[in-house]
Subunit: 277 residues, 2 copies
């Protein structure tokens, strides 16, 4: 990795560039983004300068696609055939199956390795970028073929991920998408549904405490972040929602018997373990 | 209020005693609790000493019932007829209709005024008690008859609530119970159902981020706190759960169209307002 391009210099792309620099990367970092973002990112020292997508594909040995999911897919379709044979392209999209499938068709030269950094902040944009964003956080890699991981370009990327402090987890693309449907996408929709329900309960604000307020935190996420995720993970999200509906309906049916102690204990155990990570 | 009794000297009862003292209450504060709790509360300066329930009913002019809901009901049935005509009995139970109905039958002398302080902490017990627990927090009062509020004993209690910094909200008992079913009891069961669902997703801990972790915070509540609440508010909790199931099913059906922007915006608005209180 000597000359790299970040496609989409926002919170994630910008933070990745800053993290690389902090970990000792001394090569060139180019940005493929809107003129305004390039300007800001350059003035912040996040990138060395801007570059056009095709030029980046042909001249860089590492491409980091940190755009919205459908834009990543479009990028792969547009420049996939121009990526250098020795180069690695990776992405930071929140769903993986469609992206990895697109790359398999479109990236005819270099190697593509799907990724999903489980890191974020309430606010987006390059101004929010920080070098420590990935420290101690899970970074999922979804190789189309496990043998890809031993290729030199992949091995070098992985060693940089380790140096920036990420906890790497390997999953198959569809396995990743199913898991995040349960751990991220369904919880988002549950929070949205709960807040939507409160909207119809007059005076709910008078009796709402910190518990329900916490349960509506995710509901503040802008739809722009979710549109592509929900579109590209529909089947698994449907499965996860159907599952939580069944569980709620089961709890409801058992309210009259009053004995939900085992459910509470089992749930508390999961909740405690999530906090021990 | 010159001689008061706290029934159940735990987090809420103990905090109420400390809050009264801090606000300038100089009368006697007696505790009706287990010998061990009385010992602890006395050594902490929360109460002046212990008292038997019947003696408290007959000798105190203010009774604060801060026990579990079904215990409050039992207390009212046992000592309701012995409460002094000039006395006020109030409670801190999380559901109100059954308690207020029981009081209407059982409290033959003094006045009963149902209450629900919307305050709490992760941990319970008198050792967690603090004088500032009610400051700035909602305190719901559910008079059986609004005229009760003008009776001297009620007016004096209300002025103490104001002095300890509580934000008083008046609701009818059943109206309170329906509202908290939506704002507290259903959110609790949603968190429990979500954590229970994750238990069956192998490796969920690897990809769980702060979002879903926050959504499972309520799931750590011990069932002991919820048993009486769910038993005494079954119909409203059923209604609220059925409503959230319908909303989740509706979101699920609309995933394919992809247009959930209005739902997200509406939910985000509710979530933001809850944080502006």
């Amino acid at each position: 990795m000597k000359r790299i391009a970040i496609f989409g210099v926002g919170l994630i792309g910008g933070s990745f560039a800053l993290a690389l620099r902090k970990a000792g990367f001394t090569g060139e970092i180019h940005g493929v983004s809107s003129p305004a973002t390039i300007e800001t990112a350059k003035s912040m020292g996040v990138i060395d300068g801007g570059m056009e997508a095709g030029e980046a594909a042909e001249s860089c040995d590492f491409l980091y696609l940190a755009q919205p999911i459908l834009t990543i897919i479009q990028t792969l379709e547009t420049i996939g055939a121009r990526i250098r044979p020795d180069a690695l392209a990776t992405d930071a999209g929140s769903t993986k199956r469609l992206i990895v499938e697109t790359a398999a068709r479109s990236v005819t030269g270099g190697l593509f390795l799907g990724g999903h950094p489980m890191a974020g902040k309430e606010r987006s944009g390059v101004r929010e970028a920080e070098a420590g964003l990935f420290e101690g956080r899970t970074y999922v890699l979804t190789p189309a073929d496990k043998a890809d991981l031993t290729r030199p370009a992949a091995a070098e990327f992985i060693s940089w991920l380790e140096r920036i402090g990420a906890r790497i987890v390997y999953l198959e693309p569809d396995q990743h998408d199913r898991m995040v449907a349960f751990t991220s996408h369904a919880p988002q929709l549950i929070s949205t549904a709960l807040a939507g329900m409160l909207a119809d309960v007059d005076g709910h604000g008078d009796v709402a405490g910190p518990g329900v307020t916490g349960m509506t935190r995710l509901a503040m996420s802008p739809f722009g972040l979710w549109r592509d995720i929900l579109r590209t993970n529909q089947a698994h999200v449907e499965e996860a929602l159907a599952e939580i509906e069944t569980r709620l309906s089961d709890l409801r049916a058992r309210l009259s018997s009053g004995d939900l102690e085992l459910e509470f204990e089992r749930a508390a155990e999961v909740a405690r373990r999530l906090r021990q990570k």
